[in-house]
């Protein structure tokens, strides 16, 4: 464990440059997959709520189908999902390897998860306020845009925080399939080259990233919450 030569590797500027590149790759994967997860997951969450029994667009068939799709993708372990999606990823991105390619399974894995979080957030919106909007003659789209989403925003931001943290851990796994990023870097040095110090440093960077996302997300959610 305590091999002085391996610790000396930390003095090598090249190691830090590689670490920096890996860090940027992770951020790249996080930002892109985060954005698409929110873009895809939010409407899914809205659909889950609105088509439910007694809701504005009650529709049993759509509700059950959406629910099944969400549950299926949410239940497949991410590492298996990645492999299953290889042909699909190749078809969309052109290649199944690299940071950009990793974004596809990240989105497919995280969007259903986020959809459920959005669903929970929307269900917490006071029914009375929705009713007040209906009594004013609002249509469904106005109710979604002006009542559901703004009222649930603090809670949705918390959901985004949780999802981003899940994405950090997924993206580390994506490293296994050559996705690059901090996960990949930790695995190469820690598992393949047995350089424990570099692996520890990389892990620390991941940890700090998680903590920063959490702190930032919590404070933003709190700031938005006027309740």
């Amino acid at each position: 464990m305590f091999d002085i030569n391996k610790w000396q590797a930390l003095l090598d500027i090249a190691v830090w440059l590689q670490l920096g590149t890996a860090f940027l790759e992770t951020i790249y994967m996080l930002v892109l997959s985060g954005i698409f997860t929110v873009i895809l997951g939010t409407p899914l969450g809205i659909l889950l709520v609105l088509t439910d029994k007694g809701q504005l667009l009650e529709n049993k068939v759509v509700n059950i189908i959406t629910s099944i799709i969400v549950n299926v993708f949410r239940s497949i372990p991410f590492i298996i999902l990645m492999v299953l999606l290889l042909p699909f990823t190749r078809w969309i991105i052109g290649t199944p390897i690299g940071s950009t390619a990793a974004i596809v399974p990240l989105i497919v894995g995280a969007a259903p998860f986020f959809a459920r979080l959005v669903e929970t957030s929307l269900r917490e919106v006071n029914k009375g306020v929705v009713e007040a909007a209906i009594s004013m003659g609002a249509n469904v789209s106005q109710i979604v845009r002006k009542v559901y989403l703004p009222e649930a925003l603090p809670s949705i931001v918390s959901g985004i925080t949780v999802t981003l943290i899940a994405l950090i851990s997924y993206s580390a796994m994506a490293g296994l399939l050559g996705g690059g990023g901090l996960g990949n870097y930790a695995i190469i040095y820690g598992y393949q080259l047995f350089n424990t110090p570099i692996m520890l440093v990389t892990t620390a960077v991941i940890l700090i990233l998680v903590i920063l996302v959490q702190i930032f997300g919590d404070s933003l959610s709190k700031k938005l919450d006027k309740k």
């Binding site: 006071n126 009375g128 306020v129 009713e131 007040a132 909007a133 209906i134 009594s135 004013m136 003659g137 609002a138 249509n139 106005q142 002006k146 009542v147 703004p150 009222e151 925003l153 938005l224 006027k226 309740k227």
Partner: protein
Amino acid sequence: MIKLEKVKKVYQSNKQNVVALKEINLEIKPSEIYGIIGYSGAGKSTLIRLINMLERPTEGQIWIDQKLMNQLNDRDLRFARQEIGMIFQHFNLLWSRTVRGNIAFPLEIAGLPKEEIDQRVNELIQLVGLTERADAYPSELSGGQKQRVGIARALANRPKVLLSDEATSALDPKTTDSILELLQEINKKMGITVILITHEMHVIQKICHRVAVIDDGEIVEEGSVFEVFTHPKKSITKEFVKQVTETKMVDETLRYLPHDSSSYILKCGFVGETANKPIISQWVKTVNVDVNILEGNIQYVQDASYGTLLIQINASKDKLDESIAFLQQNGVEVEVVEDVRYQ
């Protein structure tokens, strides 16, 4: 203006039917404040929510201004709703918007241009007296202030009808009165028709012109507030009237009276004009009896006064009959109260 014809509402829940309204017939005139009073579960909320179609009637018809509400298509119903304001017991404001934002909300829904919204919001903020608090969030307001926002929001699109579902039930008595006064002022100023439901007779007494008593899904009594107040017919109506007229003291007063078999206790009701005449002193002189006033109160209903006196007289049966005749001739309502001690 507003007419409900043979309206019935049955809720279906878990294969079990709940008949919330049996057969409601109701007519509300333009610019009146119409109160509907009943105990919890009587069907008040169901009734008021039928008017803007938050609930659909199982049977019957609901007319507003010659418009058959329950047959409008979705689009027409949304426009019709913009002409009906509604306020709620728990205010139902948007937490995420300030006072200003909440009042602007219905105007945004109606699709008004930004400048017009700003101008109208300012007018409304002033109308409900919240100029100082325009940029506060609902969580920073008191209950009364929240309801003022609710009222401003309900009035934003200049509706012809205002529905109030227990709007003062979550407020303390003083705040209740200030909100009721605001509603009354708005009714006078704008001629808006107000329909309010409540379980408190005080609310009816203070601002309503006409009242309906609802019990177990049926309207059991209806009329002008003054008439219902002074001459309640059904026992449930009498209970509601008691909420405000009779102090609990009456029974107590009677209980502690010295036992005297030759005395009678009269409950006298003075309506309108008679309340302002010196009838008692004339009675004492004319019939020559001794009277002892045990308790009295005067109520004001719709700008008219209605007084009740509890009087003990020491007199023979003849004198008693003579007294009753005299009082009745002078327009006083008289009732001989059974002495509680013999009950």
